[in-house]
């Protein structure tokens, strides 16, 4: 393939760095990884052809340090930089710096990135292009009085949003005057830490909407096509945790209308490369432009599985200047795909982050199962970055078959040593509202406000005790040779027998 890059630097870590490195390998392109001191043994570092150290773990001194990233590209002779998602992915200053240094940024051009990255300007552009938007402030503000006046004019509840935002960072729902100032302050702090920019603005909060987004590809020669939708309504703290395609909420007519609107929105923004147009869909079937995600998204695999199109490969081809060969009429959805994000969080303790060493990992496998992972046995999950460990994606002929395949695959996915959300996600996909395809963005808050015991918890706890005791007594187990919990052997006392436990039934 003439004109394609010989070497690409991947300015990211974790599962997305692994995903991009694999695409490079398939295309015969050299892959350069970068890593902080906390990631020296990470899978993305091992997989890459070359790896460059960025220094101390904090993101600001490593993965967000433009100077170090550019220097690493220079030192290794990389011609292009793939930013993944997060970190520098939507940073227009970084894209511009790449342009001036003669490096290709695998993503949109800096001016398009600047436009869509500024949520306020993006909304103005969409208004002009006739793309429906959520009512909200037309500009950011610094004054508490202006915020209060705007909130009252929009009518509570309102949403605080980071102008540079994405991924739920900096977002807060405010119910009344009382909480406004604190929410703005917290939003600013989180936005500053996540994006290095603390501008926030207010939007009217559409209640119980669905979140439906359209994947778009736009080459450097004016061709723009969409790859249909992803339904992303299952969110916690404004963070997506499960996505699927197609959306159970769209019929053919609405799907066509939203797809055409997404293409119009990207054209209005002068957008190139891969990007996503996010919409809110209200109960009456009206949809509103929310924002453009100017990057490869976490949930891109569901689109890959239903359309059969490799998004990372397309990104690299388009960035190298190749024209898109796809035509809109060639793109079709086939079957159904679901993705579950496996986070390092403890669902039994209010989803507290759970960093630490992975002592055992068993990846799910089988027909229609894909596991995009950035972890390995023995890897120490650091506290410094996003809690995403891996993504489990399944494909099957229809939604119910995909849902059942996901349930089985989640049970096969075993990560020991830290807490993860895998068990919680198993309960989510088993919920009647989800099974019926009726879940909105309010679903997790309404049905999973607290998650803990659940059915059969005491049975499972006893089985865990039985297993621990068996392990302590038996040679050849994972505890062999070590001082297991069986050390505390006391006199054998046959306790009174009153009943018989039945696991899986009522005690």
């Amino acid at each position: 393939m003439d004109g394609i890059f010989r070497k690409i630097l991947i300015a990211n870590r974790g599962e997305i760095a692994v995903r991009v490195i694999k695409a490079c390998r398939e295309m015969g392109i050299g892959a350069v990884a970068v890593f902080s001191d906390a990631d020296a043994d990470a899978p993305h570092v091992r997989l890459a052809d070359e790896a460059v150290s960025l220094g101390p773990p904090p993101a600001a001194e490593s993965y967000l340090d433009m100077g170090k990233i550019v220097a690493a590209a220079r030192a290794t002779g990389a011609e292009a930089i793939h930013p993944g998602y997060g970190f520098l992915a939507e940073n227009a200053a970084f894209a511009r710096r790449c342009e001036t240094e003669g490096l290709v940024f695998i993503g949109p051009g800096s001016s398009a990135l600047e436009l869509v990255g500024d949520k306020v300007r993006a909304r103005q552009t969409m208004d002009k292009a006739g793309v429906p938007t959520v009512p909200g402030m037309k500009s950011c503000s610094a004054s508490a009085e202006e915020f209060r006046a705007a909130a009252r004019a929009l009518g509570y509840p309102v949403m605080v949003k980071a102008s540079a935002g994405g991924g739920g960072k900096g977002m807060r729902i405010v119910a009344g005057d009382d909480g406004l100032e604190a929410a703005i302050e917290a939003g600013r702090r989180e936005a500053k830490s996540a994006f290095g920019d603390d501008s926030v603005y207010l939007e009217k909060c559409i209640e119980e909407p669905r979140h439906v987004e359209f994947q778009v590809l736009a080459d450097n020669h004016g061709r723009t096509v969409h790859l249909f939708e992803r339904e992303c309504s299952i969110q916690r703290r404004h963070q997506k945790i499960l996505e699927e395609s197609p959306s159970p909420a769209l019929d053919a007519g609405l799907r066509r209308e939203m797809g055409e609107t997404a293409v119009r929105a990207m054209r209005a923004a002068g957008y190139n490369n891969a990007g996503t147009v996010e919409f809110l869909l209200d109960k009456s079937g009206r949809f509103y432009f929310l924002e453009v995600n100017a990057r490869l998204q976490v949930e891109h695999p569901v689109t890959e599985l239903v359309t059969g199109i490799d998004l990372v490969r397309q990104q690299i081809l388009m960035a190298s200047g190749a024209p898109l060969e796809l035509r809109q009429e060639d793109v079709a959805q086939r079957g159904h795909a679901i993705e579950c994000r496996i986070y390092a969080e403890d669902p039994k303790a209010g989803f507290l982050p759970s960093a630490g060493r992975i002592v055992f990992l068993r990846e799910p496998k089988g027909p229609g199962i894909r596991f995009d992972s950035g972890i390995a046995e023995g890897f120490n999950v650091p506290v410094f970055y996003d809690p995403i460990l891996a993504k489990l994606i399944v494909w099957a002929e229809d939604r119910e078959a995909a849902r059942r395949r996901m349930a089985a695959a989640l049970e096969d996915c075993v990560i020991l040593g830290i807490h993860t959300t895998a068990g919680f996600l198993g309960d989510v996909i088993d919920h009647p509202e989800f099974r019926a395809g009726r879940a909105t963005t309010a679903f997790i808050g309404q049905h999973f406000a607290s998650w803990g015991a659940g059915e059969g918890e005491e049975d499972r706890r006893r089985l865990a005790l039985a297993a621990a005791a068996f392990e302590a007594l038996s040679p050849g187990g994972s505890a062999a040779g070590a001082a297991g919990p069986g050390r505390r052997r006391v006199a054998a006392t046959p306790w009174t027998t009153l009943g018989r436990w039945r696991a899986g039934g009522e005690p």
Binding site: P353, L416, A422, A479, G499
Partner: protein
Amino acid sequence: MSLAAFELLLDGEIRRISVEARDGALVLREGGRVLETGVRRISANELRLRVGDRSVRIFLARDGDRTCIAVDGRHYVVSEPRTEAGRPGEADEKAGAGGLRVKAPMPGKVTKLAVAEGEEVRRNQTLVIVEAMKMENEIKTSIDGVVAKIHVAAGDLVDAEKILVEVEPTAG
């Protein structure tokens, strides 16, 4: 055949059990209740337990003095009572004189101190914000009182269980 009694911590809860193991069968007794299971070892990290007519897959691995166990996709940690005083996440621990020591529930970075020494605080008031994995976690006091001592500063990296703030309860 072997018979042994154990005192174990299961996710912070003390459980006293006795176990009898023979020929692939395990009899577990706890407070007068009995659980009989057939146990098959699949690998160093996987057991198959048969309970009644149900077969349950269990995965387990040692991590220092803890044993991490997955049952039906749920994660449990079993250890000896001595080695793990409590679950990280229960932020409070009573100090000697009835005061409260508020600890970091997980490793992270202190991004904000919301109170000063000597300040009066109310139950559920935020004392400190600790950021981990890019999410802000508000660490609150569970009692009314006065901030007696602050052990950290904004910008500090803290480990789990690190004492952040001490609160003396309001008299009366």
